[in-house]
Symmetry: C2
Subunit: 488 residues, 2 copies
């Protein structure tokens, strides 16, 4: 499980992260994801290996979300990877949004295909082609299907593992309703599941809002989003839930016979949450010693490190093993009994990998009937009576999960600036802050805000907006309160 | 969740299967998988939609296997979909085995790629390219990684949903060891996990054995297999576990520094289990009324069908709801309280979908404090006191799971023929039986057996072989006992 060299004790000096998060975030991020053994680069730019240390996070998130989906009547299925070119072309806006990034299969074996096949960049078209065959009457609605899959978008922006990759993993949910009211409600309900997942699993607070028309999903009526503000001063679109209206229903002629015996087009939404979210979590919580994982996504929640001396070795190992067995009913705990490494080396190793809690046990601790626990996130050290260890671990893991969230929220609040003028806005963006301001609603002002800030965008119109005053750019009456930030 | 038309009560006569399993297996299979809403066809030949009714089977199998994998130290990861052409070419036999079926990405957007990308037909090469970066010393071994993924093999044989599709879902495990002994042991251990999964989840008995050299995995030393004999007289390769020896290690130069300070090539295996297994299970147990599901893979294990009359409707529904809540702690139970369908229509509907147990409750049953249960597999009807219902359901589901296995095993045993001559062998194959016979080990005899039987193959050399007597084809001394059958 170790990266190149990281297991040779003599090389332990090299395994730390040599860049500082606050000075060179990009380099820091890149070191953390390789040294914590989360990803591996490949010969194809933008395509990465998800090593077990990161994939297991994804599995925990999947299980959490599947439970929430099922509660809402969503069932999982799987639709083909390949979309015939003609089919993909059926919804015009959708085509224009996605075809510049599509990977095309043109040959199989040594034969040329009669029709090119798109590797799915998203699955609206291929799924709805089947939906059209299944839906006949109001009795078939709502239809709610989700799939966990890989998708490919050959973006030409600089790829960053997790955050922007050409192949990524995600879930994409596709619900169908008989009425506009139902789909509007559902779009928000699925976004709530995303907010919950970010909070409960990743300890990451989000801002929920609408995307502007220029940033919405190609082929949809409107897009809702969870936006995350990161400690490097950048926002990241965290996931989206789109109201597709009847656009695809009309393009693919998906109709149902309603209770009033009239044939009507269905109403649809789609909503996706990808492995980008792992990158957001890493960027939010981790530090210059390595990864920091919220306990609920950690494969190993606590590691016991025995302090071994020749004379007391047997006794200490036996005690540690007993403790491990006692804790394992409730938590995922490992005992690091490797003898070729010093305790100090192990501390660094598990800190790099983000294990939330370390439990140290030496011969003197055993004499005193205690252990030493050290929190990964704060470094806080406590002496704990062995009788209380289980309760202590339970409480501490809960505390870590909550405090990571609270700290991230505080960080965002402290870095949010209300800007009434372009001067204030430009200064705040330069200072890597998140700007809350007013906007007239014109695409022109949106574009000029971007130009004048070297690329900061209106990341969303928050659901809780209170438009007031004048557009920060043109001075006309404000139509929306918006957040502006540099963004991935 | 219903297929076209199946929800209109007036069309209920059409929803049954019109072909008989024993007369036209192909047509029967094709009807069952669409009418039980397991798959949908698409415009791309050989690529199918896994509808929730089949995908949920796959999820249950995945969870079962993941548990077994984890117990054995295997961790899940995810490797890229695309393999650069040059990389794929590194292991010669492997290339020759797979390139005729590879789907090639040549363009992205409107640009031609400098190097073609293969859509993975299997992931040895792309995974081992990373393994080479991670493995340095004996401390890094064993390395055990599995991935759940989609793969594409553009076969030109007639595609059959589940059984032979151009895109399919599978798990592929890839373990690495320091010694030949370890890898040989592991190949068999992973095959044991497969046998267990077939038995415990699918109630399907397998024959474990070796593939002949002409049928082994391209690039491996030898292939072990679980073969399944189906009621239509055909065998299906159920899954495989390959000993790759040092072939890939040498092609990709994957070495480790052993305890003796010598640099050595690693030893590897790979093992895969795909959605084909679902097709095998369907073919094994299902009947002319529709799907038959072993309880452990059934999304719905029992369905309560209330018998409703105007006067007693409220009372019966209340009782059914109470029963459902009581059973739901232990089983997956639904109450079919749809009022637009008759009980008879519902019986057919749930029989088509393979729900293992039906529970009927009418007003007279309630008076007598009883319910009527009907087994999907046998049709056996029982009157059960409501006080005993939970225990009865528990026992009956266990019984179904076991008896499906026992019946499948008996079916195979009754259809297994020992053949000492080609005449016997050819007759048995014509009679759709499974032949156990003797083989000299020559590729020539293997090919001629195939020719003379119109395509029956040596499906495996069973692990428990007892070679005796003479080769069924040439009469020379037998080297192996083998199974011969028509095969998918």
């Amino acid at each position: 499980m170790a990266g190149k060299g990281s297991k040779d004790p003599e090389e332990s000096k090299d395994i730390g992260i040599t860049a500082k998060k606050e000075e060179d975030y990009g380099e820091w991020f890149s070191q953390i994801i390789t040294k914590a053994e989360l990803v591996e680069y490949t010969d194809v730019s933008g395509c990465y290996v998800y090593r077990p240390n990161s994939f297991e996070i994804w599995e925990k998130v999947r299980d959490f979300m599947d439970y929430e989906f099922r509660k809402r009547g969503v069932r999982n299925g799987y639709f083909p990877l390949f979309i015939p070119e003609k089919l993909l072309m059926k919804e015009q806006e959708h085509v224009e949004g996605f075809t510049p990034e599509v990977a095309w299969v043109t040959h199989t074996g040594s034969s040329k295909l009669a029709e090119r096949l798109a590797v799915r960049p998203t699955s609206e078209i291929i799924m709805y082609d089947s939906y059209g065959k299944w839906i006949r009457s109001w009795r078939d609605l709502p239809l709610k299907i989700n799939q966990w899959s890989n998708v490919v978008r050959w973006e030409f922006k600089n790829p960053v593992p997790f955050i922007r990759s050409r192949e990524f993993l995600w879930q994409e949910g596709h619900n169908v309703f008989a009425s506009k009211e139902e789909v509007e409600k559902d779009v928000l309900e699925m976004l709530d599941v995303y907010e919950l997942t970010y909070k409960e699993m990743y300890s990451v607070p989000v801002i929920k809002g609408y995307k502007t028309d220029s940033e919405k999903f190609a082929g949809g009526d409107y897009t809702t989003t969870c936006e995350v503000f990161l400690p490097n001063g950048k926002a990241a679109q965290g996931c989206t839930s789109h109201n597709l209206g009847q656009n695809f229903a009309k393009a693919l002629d998906i109709t149902f016979l309603d209770k009033d015996e009239k044939k009507k087009h269905v109403w649809q939404d789609s909503w996706g949450f990808s492995t980008r979210t792992i990158g957001i979590m890493i960027g939010m919580h981790s530090d210059n010693k390595g990864l920091v994982l919220p306990p609920k996504v950690a494969t190993v929640q606590a590691v016991i490190v025995p302090i071994l001396f020749d004379k007391t070795k047997e006794q200490v190992l036996a005690k540690c093993d007993e403790l491990k067995r006692g804790l394992s009913d409730c938590f995922s705990v490992i005992l690091d009994d490797r003898e070729e490494y010093t305790p100090g080396w192990k501390f660094n190793d598990w800190e790099m990998k983000g294990v939330p809690l370390r439990i140290e046990v030496g011969p003197k601790d055993i004499e005193k009937g205690q252990a030493v626990t050290v929190r990964r996130d704060t470094g806080d050290k406590e002496f704990v009576k062995l009788d209380n260890l289980k309760d202590h671990v339970q409480l501490t893991l809960e505390k870590i999960q909550e405090e990571l969230y609270d700290n991230a929220l505080r960080m965002r609040q402290e870095n949010t600036i209300d800007a009434a003028s372009m001067q204030d806005l430009m200064k705040a963006i330069k200072d890597k802050q998140l700007v809350r301001t007013n906007w007239c609603g014109s695409e022109e002002c949106e574009a000029l805000i971007k130009d004048k800030t070297n690329g900061a965008k209106i990341i969303c119109i928050p659901f809780d907006e209170k438009p007031n005053g004048k557009c920060v750019h043109c001075g006309k009456d404000s139509k929306h309160e918006v957040y502006v930030a540099k963004s991935y």
